[in-house]
């Protein structure tokens, strides 16, 4: 299969004309013919719901499959900060080109220019669309939209809805989709988990799914399949992701031939609440905005025992301000996380498990007063106190970096199609727009751009060729084979009947991943991780215990299947990290740094997208390179000194 040629299908013409050229060149499906097509969408987050709504409006027949009890539960709902757009409502020099530039630079020059420019281009339409849907954006007294500033940009371009922008945008997309459900254009299957892609004669023709309530394995057939299944940061076990977020859909697509791009690119967010004990199930994020007023420090003495407010100024090390005087506490996420890690590694961590650094508001409270701080961050302080039982107005917060987002994902071309014809990946499930590091408030932008504006335009190009063909019936051998494979895998998991719960293996995997494939990576550690993951995977298949049967609602079985896939996907993450002997964005290789210890990119050898081809579990995957061409920006080393 190694004859794959990666054709990104980037349109001709100057950067700013590519998207309109593309829309002109794409083949269209006539409005009367759209109702002859069936499209399957897996996942109901921002990307999936907005795509379902828009495709339904266009006239396509859409099937929405989600494992949640309601589409509104998708984890997009937890995004706090905001959504970027190049509206330049604040007259502060913003433009589409600047948003494009900031995103490319923030991603450390590892994303595709044409895709990122298109993202910046449609960002404004997203704001128009969502405001018209009634999303309660923050507003000025005159009734017009307000903006915030966010990391990695020097303009105010972030639209927000208090601390729940993701929730409000997701509900807007969900509601638009609900309208299509009522109109019969979208069919909703909730509590239905996709477990395999069906590929027939080289095209994606459907999926196999398990009804989570009855355990029934059934097939869905369509002209195209869209994966909007989010990211896989739960490979680290402890992350800011929801409990059910998983990599199963993308991983199973990968096993059918979809190349996986930059799997090791993970964003580790600096400001999460530290874990308090072994059985912690997830990490809770504290918004990036806190770093506007909070100062990050550790005591200068490793054996400090005093309470933080008793430690005099002179005995504190404000390490971000010390190392990065120009940006101070507002360096980008990857830089802040790594700097904190250095402090833990040297033994300066604070808190009972020595796994935090202080985020101190005492100075800001002194300068602005408690009321102002309460107005700005009241809900976050309350959330912090609820979780830790400490009052952040009195003692500094303790924070710890946490896996938060995966920039990697299925490789897609400019049309968002994977290397399997007819199989699309949108939102966090693809790799295309964020390169090595995602800027704050850009995830919502990308999910909605893909779903509302990009996919509905590009998918017709593929579908138009299939006019007159019916979807393959679900009793076709291709589906029966897929169903059997899924059943066999489930039966195998139940038959192991070992002694350990799936959660145990997930936790063990997480420990390896965060230690060796986390904030800083090196050759020895990555090799160790690969062999550890393999050992853990073998142990899992010998010793996991799945109670209950396949014929009922069985959360242990669901979990076991997801952990089984993480145990394979994690290995690819480590292999990719091992291959990329440079530091870029969230990927920091200790072998590649400047004399001062900062990340050092290697554009000569690694300015490519690493797209991996699956060759079997435990087999070495094949690397395909998509060389990145930068015609509109100049590659420069990032510096925040």
């Amino acid at each position: 299969m190694s004859n794959i040629v990666l054709d990104a299908k980037v349109p001709e013409g100057p950067l700013e004309e590519k998207w309109s050229n593309a829309r002109f060149d794409l083949k269209l499906v006539n409005p009367a013919n759209k109702r002859k097509y069936e499209i399957l969408i897996i996942g109901s987050g921002l990307a999936g719901a907005s795509a379902a709504a828009t495709l339904g409006e266009l006239g396509y027949n859409v099937t929405m499959i989600t494992y949640h009890d309601s589409p509104r539960r998708a984890h997009s709902i937890a995004a706090q900060g905001g959504i970027n757009a190049a509206k330049n409502y604040h007259n502060d020099g913003d433009s589409i080109f600047r948003l494009f530039y900031d995103t490319i630079k923030g991603g450390d020059y590892r994303s595709r220019e044409a895709n990122v420019y298109r993202l910046a281009e449609v960002s404004n339409e997203i704001i128009d669309q969502t405001a018209a849907q009634g999303v309660p954006y923050g507003r000025e007294y005159g009734g017009l939209l307000d903006n915030r500033s966010f990391g990695g940009a020097q303009v105010s371009r972030t639209f927000y809805s208090r601390g729940a922008t993701g929730q409000q945008l997701l509900l807007g997309a969900y509601q638009a989709m609900a309208r299509q459900i009522e109109l019969g254009k979208v069919k909703l299957y909730n509590r239905m988990e996709m477990l395999d892609v069906v590929v027939h004669e080289g095209r994606a023709v459907g999926v196999v799914a398990r009804d989570l309530i009855t355990g029934e394995i059934r097939s869905f057939s369509g002209h195209a399949v869209v994966l909007a299944t989010g990211g896989y940061a739960n490979a680290y076990y402890l992350s800011t992701m929801a409990m059910m977020c998983n990599g199963t859909a993308v991983w199973r697509a990968h096993k059918h031939g979809a190349l996986f791009a930059n799997p090791s690119f993970t964003q580790i967010h600096p400001t999460a609440i530290p874990a308090s004990e072994e059985f912690q199930s997830k990490l809770t994020l504290m918004s990036e905005s806190l770093r506007n007023d909070g100062r990050i420090w550790v005591p200068k003495d490793k054996n400090e025992t005093r309470s933080p407010d008793q430690i005099p100024e002179a005995e504190r090390d404000y390490f971000l301000e010390r190392r990065y005087p120009a940006f101070g506490n507002l360096v980008p996420r990857d830089v802040a996380s790594r700097a904190a890690k250095v402090m833990f590694d040297e033994g300066y961590g604070v808190g009972p498990l020595k796994n935090g650094v202080y985020l101190d508001f005492a100075e800001a409270i002194g300068r602005l007063g408690k009321d102002v701080i309460e107005q700005r961050y009241g809900n976050l302080f309350e959330m912090y106190e609820r979780i830790t039982d400490e009052n952040p107005y009195k003692v500094p917060m303790r924070i710890y970096p946490a896996p938060h987002y995966t920039m990697g994902g299925l490789w897609v071309d400019y049309h968002l199609m994977t290397t399997i014809p007819g199989l699309y990946a949108i939102g966090e499930a693809n790799f295309s727009d964020h390169g090595g590091n995602r800027l704050g408030a850009s995830a919502l932008m990308q999910g909605l751009a893909d779903g509302y504006f990009v996919l509905p335009n590009t998918i017709g190009d593929y579908l138009s060729d299939q006019l007159g063909t019916d979807p393959i019936p679900t009793d076709h051998a291709a589906f029966k084979t897929g169903e059997k494979a899924v059943k066999d895998q489930i039966d195998e998991l139940i038959a192991i009947n070992g002694t350990r719960s799936p959660d145990y293996f997930h936790r063990e995997l997480g420990k390896v991943m965060i230690a060796e494939v986390g904030m800083a990576r090196n050759e020895d550690g990555l090799k160790r991780a690969i062999s550890e993951i393999r050992r853990l995977r073998d142990e899992f298949h010998k010793d996991v215990k799945v109670t209950g049967s396949n014929e009922s609602f069985n959360q242990t079985l669901e979990k076991a299947g997801r952990v089984a896939d993480f145990l394979e996907l994690a290995e690819l993450m480590a292999i990719d990290a091992l291959n990329r002997r440079e530091s870029c964005g969230g990927h920091f290789r200790e072998e590649s740094r400047t004399p001062e210890g900062e990340a050092l990119r290697d554009d000569e050898n690694y300015a490519y997208v690493a797209a991996w081809e699956f060759n079997g579990v435990g087999e070495e995957p094949t690397l395909h390179k998509e060389q990145l061409v930068f015609e509109n920006v100049e590659l420069a080393q990032r510096s925040y000194k």
Binding site: A53, T54, H68, D69, S70, R73, H75, A78, K87, E125, I127, D128, Q129, A131, A132, G134, P136, Y137, R139, E140, G143, L144, L145, S161, A164, Q167, Q168, Q175, A176, A178, R179, I181, L188, N190, A242, M244, S276, E277, F279, S281, K282, T284, M383, R386, I387, D389, Y452, F453, P456, T499, R500, S501, P502, Y504, K545, T547, G548, F553, N554, Q555
Partner: protein
């Protein structure tokens, strides 16, 4: 600390239910309530016993997936808190904690503590949206929204759809859920064209699944987002108006 869990177990929607008792030992103060449940369940798995089913997802109080009756209170007795945000430090050593699913005709039990809340989706599908086909929206700043309106629309939109309002209501009414969405959309200028159709469609659909409001106010107390029953009054007003208004004149101001 050690606590005893009395958990409602029910094999399916039609199956009779029963309480089972499980011991949760060596629980740390810092654990969340759901982490305590994870531990109990993990031990059950290792002993070959099927763990009790319980829904949760984001575990930061925003997705609305979690939600059970804890000692007779929806989401436990801490105000403005979802089940996932409860911590064990609020309990004491030796406590017996009773866990029950939401009980309502509109929320059939799937298994144990897990219920089916699809009825909420049906209410939204009936009219809980503003019709804007993608691409047809005017510039976002074309329609100013007074700040007070935007703020209260957000208060209403904060609903996470967990179902605690229904669970808390002696009548299993879904007025708080329905009125919160209606308040958000019927209050903003963008929502005016569909305002009266929306309220009738959503209320009628709501009534197919749920009981009626008798103004106890339990829903407001149980709501993890502390959504106010003022929205229920607004919904009633809009519904009555929708029934009496000559809608051909809706284009006229005053």
């Amino acid at each position: 600390m050690d606590v005893t869990l009395k958990v409602w177990r029910q094999d399916g929607p039609e199956a009779p239910g029963r309480f089972e008792t499980y011991e949760a030992t060596d629980i740390s103060d810092h654990m969340s309530f759901l982490e305590m449940c994870d531990i109990v369940n993990e031990k059950l798995v290792e002993r070959g016993i099927e763990p009790f089913s319980i829904d949760s997802d984001c575990r930061e109080g925003i997705c609305g997936m979690c939600g059970i009756m804890i000692n007779g209170h929806p989401h436990g007795d801490q105000l403005g808190t979802a089940t996932c945000q409860l911590h064990m430090r609020k309990f004491s050593d030796g406590d017996e904690i009773v866990l029950e699913p939401w009980k309502a005709t509109g929320f059939p039990v799937i298994r144990d503590l897990v219920v089916d809340r699809s009825s909420f989706d049906r209410i939204i599908e009936a009219g809980g949206y503003i019709t804007v086909p993608t691409g047809s929206a005017p510039d976002a700043n074309m329609v100013p929204v007074p700040k007070a309106v935007a703020d209260v629309a957000f208060d209403a939109a904060a609903c996470i759809g967990c179902g605690a309002c229904v669970a808390a209501c002696p009548n299993s009414a879904a007025q708080l859920f329905t009125s919160a969405k209606l308040a958000q959309l019927n209050m903003v200028p963008q929502g005016q064209p569909e305002r009266y159709d929306r309220v009738v469609a959503m209320v009628d659909t709501m009534e197919e699944f749920f009981g009626s409001c008798t103004n106890h106010g339990e829903c407001e107390a149980a709501c993890p987002k502390s959504i106010t029953i003022d929205f229920i009054a607004m919904m009633n007003k809009d519904y009555i108006k929708a029934k009496f208004k000559n809608r051909r004149l809706l284009g006229q101001k005053a």
